[in-house]
């Protein structure tokens, strides 16, 4: 294998031109195809063959006869899906939560990064950064335990200790009342993920040339002024790219957050069911393959358009960060 690429240049110069090029190409680059083969096989199994399976959305799947022998039903699964209130509910939940998450990640992430950057003690800044990053490394299962520690209706920290401090002794049943979750979920999501965004923004801020600030100080600009007129404009590309990447995924949500943290409580579905959890419910609980894959296809197609558009916008701003 190792010698394969070598001798060809000299030896092959006599043969016919076209053939020479072909043989030369395979001699030289054939090994690349071998290198790529394992990954291609995995992609085929994980991604490309299941794409063919998307036809399930147009079929009335019978588990016994298999996917390909099941009868076609056209758009029935879709019209059924969109005739229920579910379709509207899960789309609304998915998008609104994502908009809230993206906004929080942006505002809190940049603010934390600015504060880290202005701390006088580097050592302390590093320490707090490390602590803030910790939740990012925990699995959703562990986060669920932590949330449960606070929200357990009988003995949780909130009902038993924190709320009584504020003079309230009503036992709130967190896992049955959907009205609290539009607040709980963003708090949990931000708590877990903000370290990632803050560190990303901080890296961009640290990369800014100090001379801008020196010049601004000489001109008498206040710290606030410097933040608004130097720091924020200079990290704008990073802000836009990170935000657009999230907007491209606005039709998808973190399954762990919506399934685990809510403990998949049916009484909360009004405010906690998103497309991903709906598809899973359809697949595993109700066994409604057709409707479940119709919802999946709907998500995939709209998601595709959104990623495509957001990538176009990223290209405009910073070519290097565009996916394609």
């Amino acid at each position: 294998m190792e010698q394969a690429a070598q001798p060809n240049q000299a030896v092959l110069s006599e043969t016919g031109k076209r053939q020479k090029q072909n043989v030369g190409y395979w001699r030289k680059y054939g090994v690349f195809y071998l290198m790529m083969a394992p990954a291609l096989i995995v992609l085929l199994v994980n991604n490309y063959l299941p794409m063919i399976g998307s036809i399930i959305a147009f079929k009335n799947v019978n588990y016994q006869t298999g996917v390909f022998n099941s009868p076609w039903v056209g758009w029935d699964n879709f019209s059924y899906l969109f005739s229920t209130t579910d379709a509207w509910n899960i789309t609304r939940n998915t998008i609104i939560y994502n908009v809230v998450f993206i906004t929080l990640n942006l505002i809190i992430g940049v603010s934390l990064a600015l504060m880290f950057n202005s701390m006088r003690s580097r050592r302390l800044a590093k320490f707090h950064q490390t602590m803030m990053f910790l939740p990012y490394f925990l699995s959703w299962v562990i986060i669920t335990y932590l949330v449960y520690g606070f929200l357990n209706p009988e003995i949780g920290l909130l009902n038993k200790t924190i709320l009584p401090w504020f003079g309230s002794d009503t036992m709130i049943d967190w896992y049955t009342d959907p009205k609290y979750w539009p607040f709980i979920l963003p708090i949990v999501n931000t708590w877990k993920g903000i370290g990632y965004y803050a560190v990303f923004y901080l890296a961009a801020i640290i990369g800014i040339d100090k001379e801008y600030y020196e010049a601004a100080t000489i001109d008498g600009a206040s710290k606030w002024r410097q933040i608004w007129s130097i720091t924020v404009p200079l990290i704008r590309p990073v802000i836009i790219v990170l935000t657009m990447l999230q907007i491209g995924r606005i039709f998808y949500s973190d399954f762990g957050l919506f399934y685990q943290v809510t403990r998949n409580a049916g009484s909360l579905y009004d405010t906690t069911l998103v497309i991903d959890t709906y598809v899973y419910q359809g697949l595993v609980v109700t066994g409604d393959f057709g409707m479940s894959s119709a919802a999946g296809l709907y998500q995939a197609v709209v998601g595709f358009v959104l990623v495509f558009v957001s990538n176009l916008i990223i290209r405009r701003i910073s070519r290097e960060d565009a996916l394609f």
């Binding site: 294998m1 790529m36 602590m131 359809g282």
Partner: protein
């Protein structure tokens, strides 16, 4: 903490006023507390006496401590140890295979002289753009590959992650000089050798960052177990923790130890609340210990990317 900051006397334009610095410090101490108190709560509850928990609720300062939760788990150690084994096996093998397979794909598409590199990059990128969805993916693994209750089902889905491949490609093409590869070729090295002896050693930073992310993905995964595993043997530690929280049945009925204890002492009450938390502590353990190591490389990886952009 203000004194530590004041001790550093070097004055620079970046310095903010002392009161502002003090306020920021206070803020971050509070924020740090918010980040670790939930973990400490779980830890403390796991060491609390069950009756105290039921009476006073979860508390950071319990009136009575007890080791009974761990005692109970210890009786049932076989399940926990087996789940640990599954998690470790999947994480180690998965990460190594995944890094190898992804690097092998990333190298050809990083070579500017390889004329099909655009096509193969696209094949990779398209998996980010369009996702067939859960149902066909699930059918593929269960109906056609028959990988239900198999350890392979916990590894294969995460082997190739397009985003990581693209990160590696960018690193290979930006940080490895073309001249180096050319001269190795002139010296008679084949592509495999160039890959193993030149490309990989020069790419340790990106391999470390991606490798750590893969490790984290595998270790923290419960989703694939939920989809594909329904026996008691192939359950990894995350999924066992999930099960333990989801239904108490799982803590008790699955355990032969519980039956044995109950036979000896019919009045025995399962310390369910504290055992749950002890289970969480057992599961959190390794990640907290590995964490300082993790995050340094992780932040380095991120920083490289961000500064470049």
């Amino acid at each position: 903490m203000a004194t530590i900051a004041a001790a550093k006397k070097e004055k620079s334009v970046m310095d903010i006023s002392k009161p502002a610095n003090f306020a920021i410090n206070v803020f971050f101490w509070i924020y740090t507390a918010i980040c670790i108190i939930p973990l400490i709560l779980v830890l403390v509850v796991s060491f609390t006496d069950e009756k105290t928990v039921l009476l006073n609720g979860y508390s950071l300062f319990p009136s009575k401590l007890s080791l009974s939760a761990y005692d109970f788990l210890l009786n049932d150690w076989l399940n926990v140890v087996r789940s640990y084994g599954i998690s470790i096996l999947v994480t180690v093998v998965g990460t190594i295979v995944s890094l190898t397979v992804m690097a092998l794909f990333a190298y050809p598409i990083s070579r500017r002289d390889f004329k099909h590199r655009g096509l193969f990059s696209f094949i990779m990128v398209f998996t980010i753009l369009y996702n067939a969805g859960l149902v066909p993916f699930y059918m593929m693994y269960t109906q056609y590959l028959h990988l239900q209750n198999s350890i392979l089902a916990l590894m294969i889905p995460y082997i190739v992650q397009a985003f990581f491949v693209l990160v590696m490609r960018t690193f290979f093409s930006n940080s490895i000089p073309t001249e180096l590869i050319e001269s190795a070729k002139i010296d008679g090295a084949g592509e495999w050798r160039i890959f193993a002896q030149i490309v990989l050693p020069l790419s340790l930073p990106v391999l470390a960052s991606v490798g750590l992310l893969c490790t984290l993905n595998y270790w923290n995964d419960w989703w694939l177990s939920m989809l594909f595993i329904n026996d008691n043997i192939h359950i990894n530690i995350q999924y066992r923790m999930y099960k333990a929280l989801q239904d108490l049945q799982f803590l008790s009925s699955n355990s032969t130890a519980y039956a044995a204890i109950l036979a000896q002492n019919p009045n025995f009450q399962l310390p369910s609340e504290t055992v749950r938390m002890a289970m969480a502590v057992v599961g959190i353990g390794p990640i907290v210990f590995a964490y300082p190591f993790f995050q340094r490389y992780f932040i380095q990886g991120l920083t490289v990317g961000a500064v470049k952009g």
